[in-house]
């Protein structure tokens, strides 16, 4: 019997992982609304511009109020996450800052755009004309989307580094490890090429793609890349490095070369590679970028949509005032149609793109998601979904799902040159997290469909209360589905921080936090969030009943 949790736990570094899970998890939950609320407010204002029904403008304003509150919390938690990454995963941030900095740069300005425009709208709502306000709201949602795109470009690279050649052939069902795959395209500067023995490199699986003006483009097996990155951050010199084995004979006695830090060489190769792709576009060239962006924004829209249904729906259940009810009916109608559209988009378009990308470029993760391991009860096999999954992933019923049991435990390691990782297979727990997301998404889709059916055939006023009572669990489930999707993405990459490049131990801090530090910080975060939710309920939700009533009257 395979223990899915044990394999997840076994990767260690729990101190850092718990801090990241709590910190980023909270930020992730909050930013769903930052992605969704201003977009919904923008659509509402377009409706208002067309039909001049002021209720739609009021609904938009309510959403912007919500945005102002969650944005503040999102910005604060985002800043804390950034600081947290610096102290908990400093080597990762170093690599990001050195080679992947441009989107982070660009994100700063996105962040500023979000902050300024959100509060311009919040504080100055009545000070602008309808058209100006609508334009500002357009930028209020473009800001978070642009910001999300920049951050997600780095996350996409962490899943699929630019220039990655994957290691699985779905037509034959064969893993390609023996041929040196997966490989990453790197530009090796001529200064280093002249030192290297090409015959030895080729025997290790390196294949030459071509030349650039100042270097040679080569597909390097990730086993080599992984080891070199490990050596770089552990301050190896060439004399201590695997590089010594691939040097030309005439260099073996050159002390200047032998005493060179491996970091300097990796640095030069990465600088050259980044320049080859383009300093400003390197991350965006990751095949994972577009699907990740579309899928993440979709998740934000779905969570927002179902939360709007919950908010307006529960209010509708308790309100007696007829005028207020009419206002809420419009809000509910909008929320339901919005939710149905975005969940269809999320499942059938963005989700499909994401799934195909994972299957192609992260086959180990895909194998874990499908749980193709004897002795493991996978959800796909339980529901006989294997063929359907193969079709969805590879557009062919005859394609083979990757076999998890055939993945060598040390597939990421270069022969006997380990980097401190004893198992490169991703944890099978992602089978459960992934299908939890899928089933929850399907349930939410059905729920939105039923509510839409009511709208079309009976109207909101004749909707059975039972369905509106389900709105709160619906909103919680939308958050749950989003969290499970994110969890699958991040957990399924283990033990890699950057797939094929940097492992968990290499990215971690030298001075790991103690258990009590972890516990205190985590409890502190959780307590703050609980306090915040209570404060939002007590001081924003409760009094807003009165405010909206007065506004409608």
């Amino acid at each position: 019997m395979v223990n899915a949790i044990a394999s997840w736990v076994g990767f260690g570094y729990w101190g850092e992982r718990v801090l990241s899970m709590v910190g980023i998890g909270i930020h992730w939950g909050i930013l769903q609304y930052v992605l969704g609320l201003p977009f919904a407010a923008f659509v509402l204002q377009l409706i208002y511009l067309r039909n001049k029904d002021k209720d739609y403008l009021r609904i938009a304003r309510t959403l912007i109020k919500g945005m102002a509150i969650v944005f503040a919390v999102g910005a604060a938690t985002g800043t804390l996450v950034e600081f947290g990454l610096i102290v908990v995963w400093p080597n990762v941030l170093t690599a990001v800052g050195k080679w992947l900095y441009f989107p982070m740069y660009a994100e700063v300005f996105a962040f500023i755009m979000e902050a300024m425009i959100t509060y311009l709208l919040y504080y100055g709502w009545d000070k602008f004309s309808d058209v100006t306000r609508t334009i500002l709201t357009f930028f209020a949602f473009i800001g978070p989307w642009y910001s999300g795109a920049m951050i997600l470009s780095a996350n996409a690279y962490m899943n699929v580094p630019t220039g990655l050649l994957p290691d699985y052939n779905a037509t034959t069902g064969q893993w390609l490890y023996s041929l040196g795959y997966p490989k990453i395209l790197l530009d090796i500067p001529n200064a280093y090429v002249s030192l290297l023995n090409v015959t030895k490199l080729v025997s290790l699986g390196v294949s030459i793609k071509g030349t650039t003006s100042d270097g040679v483009l080569a597909y390097i097996p990730v086993t080599i890349v992984n080891r070199l990155v490990y050596e770089s951050f552990n301050h190896y010199t060439v004399n201590q490095s695997i590089l010594k084995a691939v040097l030309n004979d005439n260099v073996l006695t050159n002390q200047a070369v032998l005493q060179t830090p491996v970091l300097n060489i990796v640095n030069a190769i990465m600088d050259s590679t980044v320049k080859y792709y383009g300093i400003y576009t390197y991350l965006f060239d990751s095949p994972d970028f577009t699907p990740t962006l579309l899928h993440s924004i979709g998740a934000g829209l779905v969570v927002t949509g179902f939360t709007m249904i919950a908010g307006f729906g529960t209010r509708y259940l308790k309100v007696k005032d007829e005028k207020y009810k009419k206002y809420l009916e419009k809000a509910l109608k909008f929320s339901i149609v919005f939710s149905l559209i975005v969940i269809i988009y999320e499942g059938l378009i963005a989700g499909d793109m994401m799934g195909k990308t994972v299957a192609k470029y992260n086959p180990e993760k895909f194998a874990a998601i499908e749980g193709t391991m004897p002795g493991f009860t996978s959800i796909a096999s339980l529901f006989h979904l294997d063929k359907l999954e193969a079709f969805l992933a590879y557009s062919s019923f005859s394609a083979h799902l990757p076999n998890y049991s055939q993945i060598p435990e040390l597939w990421g390691q270069l022969g006997s040159f380990g980097v401190g990782i004893t198992n490169y297979r991703p944890p099978l727990i992602v089978d459960y997290t992934y299908y939890a997301m899928v089933f929850t998404g399907v349930l939410l889709g059905l729920y939105a469909l039923i509510l839409t059916g009511y709208l079309v055939f009976r109207g909101v006023s004749r909707m059975h209360k039972f369905w509106l009572y389900l709105a709160i669990p619906g909103a919680i489930l939308a958050q749950f589905a989003s969290l499970m999707g994110w969890g699958t993405r991040e957990i399924g990459r283990l033990p890699w921080i950057v797939y094929g490049v940097m492992t968990l131990n290499v990215g971690s801090t030298l001075n790991q936090p103690t258990v009590w530090e972890d516990v205190i910080v985590s409890l502190f975060y959780i307590a703050i969030v609980v306090g915040l939710v209570y404060a939002a309920y007590r001081f924003l939700w409760v009094p807003s009943k009165k405010e909206i009533l007065e506004e409608v009257k």
Partner: protein, 396 residues
């Protein structure tokens, strides 16, 4: 020699640190005034507090933006330095992170819950807001003290560097720096608040009562704060005598040097500027006192004086912080020059020789389009910021 890496760091840090000082001051003053106003049944004081709370919230948002920008510039231009401080300074950074979070969430609870909490609960949250603001520099100033001299830096048996936190807090530059910062922040907060209400009064005389209230409440404490800056500043300066490189760059221009290092970069003019700005503050405050004794405490001239005092306080913070940062150029850790780094165990003697040098920046981050992009976006950002302030505070 113009270094854009240093320029952008100084630009963002310069804006961030001024706003942070105002924030710390307001975080203490707002709940204090609210408490006193309620206790004395002085509604003008409560209103004053609420107005200051709005300034606090807006300033906090803008400071956060520039703080984030600073961090991004730091790890883009100096990734290996960020790596080192990230690895070493987990505890001081962690402390600041925790207090930033606490401060932020207490700000939200205090602001949005103004008329909703019971008075006792609201005051308790206010205490939390003020205390957490004062504690944020307890971590960050430790980082700055470490950048003066790396007290507490040790190496394990396996040659890994770590920070002995208890020893780190015995850093001779920490306590004077921290206490001076808190005093500076409270004083600047008070003077800036008086200046703000003075400005509002000059724009519209209906705001006279708020200006009067702010002067009555803040004039004497801000004067005491200014006087306290003298011994605290001198204490900090003396503590830097352990770091001759930095000390000489600050005082060398006046002929006061330590050891035989000489002056690498003469920043005495910045020190002189700071002293002049401090003197202007003192004179402006004394003038208001004088006018008060003459029976015209609240007048256009005292309002102008308060604006001058507030602007000078902000200028002093800016010049002092720039002096503190630039006087150790190009060293990230002032006490560690190449000679000292060479004595560290391998491989740190090699790694740190480049990572701790400000002239050794990431060339990718300084690429032409990045510079162009940053300049354009920063200009747009400042325009939006100006528009933001106009709409929120002035647009009808």
């Amino acid at each position: 020699m113009f270094m854009e890496s240093v320029f952008w760091l100084a630009f963002n840090f310069g804006i961030h640190i001024v706003l942070v000082n105002i924030i710390i001051g307001l975080a203490v003053l707002v709940p204090l005034f609210k408490y006193l106003g309620t206790k004395r049944n002085d509604m003008d004081l409560v209103t004053l507090s609420r107005k200051m709370m709005k300034w606090y919230a807006v300033t906090y948002g803008v400071a956060g933006v520039f703080g984030t920008a600073f961090t991004v510039f730091l790890f883009s231009f100096y990734p290996f330095f960020t790596d080192i401080i990230g690895n070493l300074l987990l505890v001081p950074f962690g402390m600041s992170i925790v207090f930033i979070a606490l401060n932020f969430f207490s700000l939200i609870a205090y602001w949005y819950g103004w008329d909703h909490w019971s008075s006792k609960t609201h005051n308790t949250i206010g205490i939390l807001m003020g205390a957490s603001a004062i504690m944020i520099p307890f971590g960050f100033r430790q980082v700055f003290a470490f950048l003066n001299e790396p007290t507490g830096l040790a190496f394990s048996a396996s040659n890994q560097p770590y920070l002995n936190v208890a020893i780190a807090y015995t850093n001779p530059t920490f306590w004077p720096l921290y206490l001076k910062s808190i005093d500076g922040a409270l004083t600047t907060g008070m003077l800036a608040a008086m200046a703000g209400f003075g400005l509002l009064y000059l724009i519209n005389s209906e705001n006279k009562k708020y200006f009067e209230k702010s002067v009555n409440m803040l004039l004497l404490p801000s004067f005491i704060g200014l006087l306290l800056m003298i011994p605290l500043g001198f204490w900090y300066l003396m503590s830097l005598s352990n770091v001759p490189y930095k000390f000489n760059n600050i005082m060398g221009g006046f002929g006061w040097t330590i050891g035989n290092l000489g002056i690498a970069y003469n920043y005495s003019w910045l020190f002189a500027l700071s002293m002049i700005l401090t003197a202007i503050q003192v004179l402006a405050v004394i003038y208001i006192f004088y006018k008060g004794m003459k029976g015209s405490l609240i007048s256009k001239s005292t309002a102008y004086s308060s604006v001058i005092a507030g602007a000078s306080a902000i200028g002093t913070i800016e010049s002092m912080e720039m002096l503190n940062a630039f006087s150790q150029f190009p060293r990230f850790i002032a006490a560690l020059g190449n000679k000292q780094i060479a004595t560290l165990p391998y491989p740190w003697n090699v790694t740190l020789s480049t990572a701790l040098n400000l002239t050794d920046y990431n060339p990718l981050a300084a690429a032409p389009f990045a510079t162009f992009f940053t300049s354009i976006m920063m200009a747009i950002m400042i325009i939006i910021l100006a528009l933001f302030i106009y709409v929120i505070f002035f647009k009808k």
